[in-house]
């Protein structure tokens, strides 16, 4: 056995010389771990959302006629065109040629990731069919130009771009956007803005049906207007479920979507089908729609509304106490009418503008639901509150994130 003293033998290390690679040695690429990645990508998610919206988009043409396709087309074209223009003008981060990248990443024109298409479709979805042609153009331009790109593009916007676009045209073109003048429709085409007339006539959709014998499957004004009127005028005491159905489109049609309203919001069925696929893939987080719709339902049940309780003046009382027999139908109408389905399934679930943590998502969804039902019950100016509810909660999302940071492993809170 030989032993040597370490102090004697250890030679002073020569300066590190880079090993000369052999001529035939392969050229190695070095990247940081992990070297495996899951298949999901941003583009895949965004294009999937766009595809999930296609059934409702096709159906909007069936309900509202060719104007629906015109509006969707204009909004998508504006969104994509403007995003391409802005990202063309903005310097982009160069990608090394060794890194495989899609054309839109390499050119910096981010339109290929599909998010502008989604925004365009969603902008059109929250506009009614009767708006003038430039309204969707303005809404999409505001959505992409101001709400999204001015904040730094994908991932950096604070508010849902589509809803900012809608809010902008809502205050800019109030007559176009007035829900009381939403179109009355037949099964396949749009016959005029007579929503208010329908209500003041007192007979609802039936009156128009009777007045125009050639028209079938009339849908009336946005049912939400009627719900609102009922709530504010306090006529619940004698309303049976049948009476409800006489004054409003029946629940089945509300669910299928052959009713008035904004382009994409009418068919709860098709929106649910699209959203179910995305939830299955994990690309929209189920907590948000569940908390949103749950809070709307709960709020409709327990928040006081004007109810005729025998006296001359209506009193404020929750429907659950004032007229429990109608309560389930009332809740069902609130869930199916207006933009709640579209908002809960596709607007509030926008990843960029909602919180990160699951606890935060519950709070976010519930907040949207609460604000929506508060708008619906107590705002005199405006029957619907989905748009502003979600925008307000978007504002709160960073705060919710801060509150709901998970406890870090090994920390005691």
């Amino acid at each position: 056995m030989t032993t040597t003293d370490a102090t004697q033998s250890a030679p002073s290390p020569p300066p590190p010389a880079p090993p000369a690679p052999a001529a035939d040695a392969p050229r190695l690429v070095v990247a940081h771990w992990p070297h495996l990645r899951a298949k999901d990508s941003t583009a895949r998610i965004m294009w999937s959302v766009a595809i999930a919206l296609v059934p409702a988009a096709v159906f909007s043409g069936y309900v509202f006629g060719w104007r629906a396709y015109l509006h969707i087309g204009l909004a998508v074209a504006t969104a994509v065109g403007l995003e391409a223009l802005i990202t063309y003008l903005r310097p982009s981060r160069p990608i090394p040629s060794a890194v495989p990248a899609t054309w839109w990443r390499r050119t910096g024109l981010t339109v290929g990731d599909g998010s502008a298409v989604v925004t365009g479709i969603l902008v059109a979805f929250c506009l009614p069919a009767q708006v003038r042609w430039f309204v969707p153009v303005v809404a999409a331009a505001v959505a992409i130009g101001i709400a999204k790109q001015a904040f730094g593009g994908l991932g950096c916007n604070i508010w849902n771009p589509a809803l900012v676009g809608r809010a902008f045209v809502h205050v800019s073109f109030p007559t176009d956007m007035n829900p009381a003048s939403y179109p009355v429709l037949t099964g396949d085409h749009f016959i005029g803005n007579v929503g208010t007339a329908v209500w003041s006539g007192g007979g609802g959709a039936d009156a128009v049906s009777a007045a125009s014998p050639g028209v079938h499957a009339i849908s009336g004004a946005s049912p939400l207007v009627h719900l609102k009127q009922y709530a504010m005028n306090g006529v619940w005491h004698d309303l049976s479920a049948q009476e409800f159905h006489r004054r409003l489109p029946d629940l089945w049609r509300m669910f299928l979507g052959t009713i008035g309203g904004d382009l994409g919001e009418t068919s709860a069925l098709l929106l649910l089908v699209g959203a179910a696929c995305l939830i299955y893939k994990g690309w929209i987080r189920w907590q948000v729609p569940l908390a949103y719709l749950g809070t709307v339902a709960l709020g409709a049940l327990v928040l006081p509304i004007a109810i005729q309780a025998g006296g001359p003046e209506p009193v404020l009382r929750p429907i659950l106490l004032g007229n429990p027999a109608v309560a389930p139908v009332f809740v069902a109408y609130h869930l199916l009418a207006g933009g709640v389905m579209l908002g809960a399934l596709f607007m509030a679930t926008d990843m960029v503008t909602s919180p990160l943590t699951s606890k935060g998502l519950w709070i976010f969804g519930a907040g949207c639901g609460l604000l929506t039902i508060l708008f619906r019950f107590y705002s005199h100016a405006y029957p619907e509150g989905v748009c502003y509810s979600i925008l307000l909660m978007n504002t709160a999302a960073p705060l919710i994130d801060r509150w709901t940071q998970p406890r870090i492993f090994g920390h005691t809170r």
Binding site: D5, P11, P13, G155, T357, R407, G410
Partner: protein, 464 residues
């Protein structure tokens, strides 16, 4: 079969192609290059001279301090050089002893000829034997094992956990060792229990390895203080903290060690090495590793000498020369190498070669929350990566914010980057922030020392 697990994590495609491949013993190569940096902590100091004859098991590197490990000659031969080589773990250079093997593979004469009775060894003798044998964590972390077996005062150890999770895709070497050497592993576990005074020994295995579970169950049958725990197959189940949580429901406190919750964790191959060190008195001279990846035409599990040049392994696995990526370790936490001119060390659990390198373009965070949902440390990787980019853009305060968000609690497992649809460089940015923090602390220390020296000079001047 109840399947314990931990919150978070992912299940990447397993691709354990070599699971059914028996361990093949690679012939001793004509030349061994044995790096001195084979452990976490200070590298060993070369203890031999050029031209010196060495026997297998002879110490050629002496530990430099307590957190360091000895290095032994993996075969007999002559030292032909002591030169600088690339250290695969850090990419820097380290000293390495080059041994021209003589083909006789002669063990050192002074090693015990007869196996010792493991039950007759006291804790100190076990620790000494383990330290003398240069045993380090062979799962890849390479922490010197004798340090782990010496629990700090006031932290009683009640459980020793043997880690047979092998949650990295592709790797199957631990699995094959569990099939072949279950008895050895249990002997090692018993020795660890004796050294630490633990009353219970557990073996943790993922449920994608039922045959290993069976083998270990047979090996521990009849012992009341030993048991096998089966986990759901999920990455990073083999991470120490996640293993302890899944097995015992205990959470290692932040900045703490498993000893803080009364646990010592050893990899299955480490347990084998401990048994060999104590029973046979044999130092670590070989290990089992997996060679796989789509560029390997004959992937397999190999028993190789420490210091074997990768070229020998690549030839044995019939790797074609057109590969683009060479990973030491698994695909999730293994490190890409810029050269194949490396050798096997005690921590090399796998050698993966791919025809096409896995390089990804990265985009902005879309706040999908996938990383937050899957993080096994319950962090907000999205936020940490954004802080990393913010730092690169010149916001130097980002480090402090990142520490609030758990920068130092990240285990660098890469789960966040795996699930990220924007393919963000989470681990990369987190490591960058940690490095910058280290540098900042170093600068602050130097500044304070300079200031103190300045004050001293002033005081001396006044005193004069």
């Amino acid at each position: 079969m109840t399947r314990a697990t931990f919150p978070g994590g992912v299940h990447p495609p397993e691709n354990k192609w070599t699971a059914d491949a028996e361990i093949r013993t690679l012939p001793v190569p004509p030349s061994l290059v044995v790096p001195m940096a084979q452990n976490l902590g200070a590298p060993a100091v070369p203890a031999v001279e050029k031209g010196q004859a060495v026997a297998r098991g002879e110490a050629i590197g002496k530990p430099d301090g307590f957190i360091s490990a000895a290095v032994h000659a993996p075969s007999s031969g002559t030292v032909t050089a002591i030169r600088q080589v690339v250290d695969a773990a850090t990419g820097r250079t380290t000293a390495a002893v080059v041994i021209e093997t003589d083909g006789r593979d002669r063990w050192l004469d002074s090693l015990p000829a007869e196996p010792r009775d493991p039950d007759a060894l006291d804790p100190d003798a076990i620790r000494r034997a383990v330290a003398d044998a240069g045993v380090v964590g062979m799962g890849g972390a390479t922490f010197p094992t004798h340090v782990k077996l010496a629990p700090p005062e006031g932290k009683p150890i009640d459980t020793v956990l043997v880690n047979g999770a092998e949650c990295e895709p592709y790797l199957t070497c631990d699995y094959r060792v569990m099939l072949d050497r279950a008895e050895r592993i249990v002997t090692g576990l018993r020795l660890c229990m004796r050294a630490t005074g633990a009353g219970r020994g557990l073996v943790g295995i993922e449920d994608n390895k039922p045959r290993a579970v069976e083998a270990l169950r047979r090996a521990v049958a009849g012992a009341e203080d030993l048991a096998v725990r089966v986990f759901r197959t999920k990455y990073p189940q083999g991470a120490e903290k996640q293993l302890i949580l899944a097995c015992l429901g205990r959470e290692v406190p932040t900045g703490g060690l498993p000893a803080d919750v009364g646990v010592v964790v050893q990899n299955v191959q480490t347990a084998c090495a401990i048994a060999e060190a104590c029973v046979d008195g044999r130092p670590v001279t070989e290990r089992v590793l997996t060679v796989s990846g789509d560029a390997a035409r004959a992937p397999g599990n190999f028993r190789v000498r420490i210091g074997t040049p990768l070229a020998a392994l690549l030839a044995e696995a019939r790797v074609d020369q057109r590969y683009e990526e060479l990973i030491l370790g698994g695909p999730m936490m293994g490190k890409d190498q810029f050269t194949a001119d490396l050798s096997v060390t005690k921590g090399t659990s796998g050698l993966l070669v791919f025809r096409k390198a896995a390089v990804y373009e990265h985009g902005p965070c879309i706040r999908c929350g996938a990383c937050v949902r899957h993080c096994p440390s319950y962090l907000n990787p999205s936020r940490l990566s954004i802080l990393g980019e913010s730092f690169l853009a010149g916001n130097l305060d980002a480090i402090d914010t990142a520490i609030e968000f758990g920068l130092m609690d990240c285990i660098l497992c890469g789960t966040c980057a795996y699930v990220c649809p924007s393919r963000r460089r989470m681990v990369h940015l987190i490591e960058m922030l940690r490095g910058e923090r280290r540098k900042a602390l170093q600068r602050r220390r130097e500044k304070q020392q300079a200031q103190a020296a300045g004050i001293r000079r002033q005081v001396e001047k006044v005193a004069d």
